[in-house]
């Protein structure tokens, strides 16, 4: 059951995902105003603003908390600007959550927006020989899809997965995304579409890999007292049960973006729990819940194969059985535990600082029963998990 420490999601808002190349601030403003409207609040009510940064949009992107505060109108509120790659939104969530639980604010907005270049993500400019991101691009041409592919290949050769198993993830997610008004790609794909999709990084095809998108999301969270005063009751409110941001434990023996090499396990043995397992584990522990309690989950399907990894990291099935799980239909809408009922990154594409916040928006709509056309039946507990480059694991659990 939720406790006094479990903050309330008072309002959520998104700007649809797409590709327009406009100033990221404009998308963020739309999301912020939508979240305020959803919460029945005005901007001046917000006491703390946690921005999730974007690093490809100059100075305003580095100080997202400031940029959105100024764009909405300076109120003297406190702010934070966080960066944690794909987990930036989750770090923003935890920033706001801690400020509130520490008593510095009763209500806060978490916001992120991005506008992205076409094609592969490239590192920021300049010759920086000590930057692992520069190293992997310049010396190896090791793109993000190449890393996804290394993991996908392991699944094929070790677990016996097939490219069709991966494609099943896209088939499932694209079907769910058709009904999501915020999704960028609202087209249902079939296994047959994959044959015509070019190989990007063997064994992954273009359809296996998520695109980069423009988009924005905002969430308003508050203390239970604040919510009760505002709503008259806590009945039916969505509560934050866990925000677990976790780093690896040395030695990190799984090759992870953007590193060219793993840590060494010659002197210090690898921890019993792998990094991605530990991210979910910490969230379950915080929430006092387990995989069996989940009604649905949003996971970071940067590649189709990666979604299968997450099933196993989340404990939805034993290691190596992800492909069987997706094939069983258990993770599709109507299944035992629908995963990426939003359509996932397959339908959205990645808008880095917005994505983890958008996961919270989606779960909130699911728990409220407002996910028209892609509603998980009787959703009570939802989990969102993702991983940002450089050891940023994050997992959020919400419940009704």
């Amino acid at each position: 059951m939720a406790t006094e420490r479990d903050l309330v999601v008072l309002g959520v808002g998104m700007h649809p995902w797409g590709k327009w190349g406009r100033n990221f601030v404009e998308y963020g403003l739309v999301a912020a105003k939508a979240a305020l409207a959803d919460a029945g609040m005005v901007w001046r009510d917000i006491q703390f603003v946690a921005g999730a940064d974007t690093i490809r949009n100059g100075y305003p992107g580095f100080v997202a908390g400031s940029t959105f505060s100024q764009a909405m109108g300076w109120t003297g509120a406190q702010i934070s600007s966080s960066y944690a790659a794909c987990a930036s939104g989750a770090q923003g969530m935890q920033s706001a959550r801690a400020q509130i639980l520490a008593g510095f604010a009763d209500v806060a907005m978490v916001i992120g927006a991005d506008t992205t270049p076409k094609g592969f993500f490239a590192p920021v400019g300049g010759e920086r020989k000590e930057d692992p991101d520069w190293q992997r691009f310049h010396l190896l041409g090791a793109t993000n899809p190449a890393f996804f592919a290394l993991n996908a290949r392991r699944r094929i050769d070790v677990f016996g997965d097939t490219p069709d198993d991966f494609a099943m993830v896209k088939v499932k997610n694209s079907k769910a995304g058709v009904a999501n008004p915020y999704a960028r790609f609202r087209k249902e794909f079939t296994l047959d579409d994959f044959a015509g999709s070019p190989i990007v990084s063997d064994p992954l095809r273009l359809l296996d890999i998520c695109a980069t998108s423009d988009g924005a999301a905002a969430v308003i969270i508050c203390t239970p007292e604040y919510a009760k005063a505002k709503l008259g009751t806590l009945e039916g409110t969505v509560r934050i049960r866990a925000v677990a941001n976790t780093t690896p434990t040395y030695p990190q023996v799984r090759l992870e973006l953007p590193d060219i090499a793993t840590d060494s396990n010659a002197v210090v043995a690898a921890p019993a729990l792998g990094f991605k397992d530990s991210v979910a584990h910490n969230a379950y522990e915080q929430a006092g819940l387990g995989p069996e309690d989940l009604s649905c989950a949003e996971v970071y399907d940067l590649s189709t194969a990666l979604e299968l990894d997450w099933y196993e990291n989340l404990g939805l099935c034993p290691e190596g059985e992800g492909a069987s799980l997706v094939r069983s239909g258990a993770t599709a809408l109507g299944g035992r535990v629908p995963v990426n009922a939003s359509g996932g990154l397959a339908s959205f594409g990645e808008a880095i600082p917005a994505q983890a916040i958008a996961q919270v928006c989606e779960l909130t709509w699911q728990l409220r029963g407002q996910a028209d056309g892609h509603q998980v039946e009787d959703a009570k507990v939802g989990l969102a998990i993702n991983q940002g480059l450089f050891g940023h694991g994050s997992c959020t659990i919400l419940s009704k």
Binding site: L140, G141, L150, R154, S201, D202, Y250, T262
Partner: protein, 149 residues
């Protein structure tokens, strides 16, 4: 041009004369290995050492996983025109307990690789710069059977 005149694409990560060897760093205190080589602190959280010294790594390892790039990576990669697909392999070095990613020797493709396969360090040209100078990089090449340990 003799082999010793090869210009490495990055300094200090590998030898440029035979036998080609990756160079990592090793903590002088707890003996943990790191690659790429670096200065700074030992990455073992229980070791307080700030002394890492260059250390040659095993020349041979086994393939942990692999892939094949079918599109030219963006800058700062310097892609050949026209672009030719090439393979990457993540290779496990047993003694050092490290997996190291590298380009696979030209012409050896994903179909030629398998997990567990033995490979060894070789060098190849990564790109030719505007001055016509070749910059070399390490590669993982199928291990020559006669040299098998």
């Amino acid at each position: 041009m003799t082999a010793t005149e090869r210009v490495p694409a990055i300094d200090g990560w590998f030898t440029t004369s035979e036998p080609y060897t990756l160079i990592g760093a090793k903590c002088t205190d707890c003996a943990t290995y790191v690659f790429p080589p670096r200065s700074g602190a030992c990455p073992n959280p229980d070791c307080d050492s700030m002394e890492l010294e260059p250390a040659p790594l095993s020349r041979r390892g086994t393939v942990w996983s692999y892939t094949e790039n079918h599109y030219a990576p963006p800058a700062p990669y310097v892609a050949a025109e026209p672009f030719e697909p090439y393979a990457l392999a993540a290779v496990q070095l047993e003694a050092e307990g490290i997996v190291i990613l590298g380009q696979v020797a030209k012409g050896v493709m994903a179909a030629d690789l398998s997990i567990g396969m033995e490979v060894e360090v070789d060098l190849q040209v990564l790109y030719r710069d505007a001055d016509g100078v070749d910059h070399w990089i390490w590669t993982w090449a199928p291990a020559a059977p006669e040299a098998s340990a």
